[in-house]
Symmetry: C2
Subunit: 140 residues, 2 copies
Amino acid sequence: MTTELNPLGNHLSYALAAAHRSVTQALTVRLKKHGIQIEAWRVMECLDAGTKLSMGELAKQALLNPPALSKLVDRMVSDGLVHRQIATADQRQINLLLTNLGRRRMLQVRQDVEDEDRALAEQFDTKDGALLIQLLSQLS
Amino acid sequence: MTTELNPLGNHLSYALAAAHRSVTQALTVRLKKHGIQIEAWRVMECLDAGTKLSMGELAKQALLNPPALSKLVDRMVSDGLVHRQIATADQRQINLLLTNLGRRRMLQVRQDVEDEDRALAEQFDTKDGALLIQLLSQLS
DNA sequence: TGAAATTAGTTGACTTGGAAAGCAAATTCA
DNA sequence: TGAATTTGCTTTCCAAGTCAACTAATTTCA
């Protein structure tokens, strides 16, 4: 039972990378038909949540470094999903806003992400899915 | 207790991405002083495990797509960590071998990875680290 | 006040990764 | 056997990410 096929199997960092890779690949396939990146979907969900976010806040929540977010937003702007608005209080800050197209697109994508989530949850015994999320969040 | 700061927090794919990001960043910092990528370390561990691996097998174990592995190996060859050997049975296959430098480097890096693993394990109650690995491996 | 320091976001040069095509060896089978 | 197919790995071209430098707005404090 402790027979290891892979010398890396006991490393948490490896188990995490393997799981992340496999989940990401599956999700990417699902999102392909929307012509959208996982990161772009995360950005849109954060924007939809209500509170105005600066690029910096958004970067943290969407798990992107600032330059990566900047460039992703450039693409999303030219796809008509979001637009930049200079914050009134601090003119250096940008508030990103969903366009109507962006909001519609987000809702469609959300369907597929939730399908994927359900598919993943089925791989676990009843409470293990929530437990996994709980354990994972201790790491970030 | 169910107050969500982040609208994405309940998605397994998000929890996984967040944990992966944070663990990867920490590990990358540790490995920086060896001038080595996490992926390169994974490759070296796989090679060290004994059985001769083709590029294809290695790619799977090290969690890389074949083109990415090819390119990484190019770099590792020019850093003197590994060398390519054409397999005798099938001339299309490559067996990758660790050089002495590569083996020494791997042992040094392994120290740091294990330090990092221990640091991570401390964030959990006794058995939760192993449980997490077990749950994660159901996903890949 | 206003010069110096800090902060927010973007840009540019460079590196890395992915999809698809390419090449060569091995296998299939008519 | 040998033409057609499949397999293993690499290359090419392009998309995307990083680090460090940059611009502009804000804050600090002498």
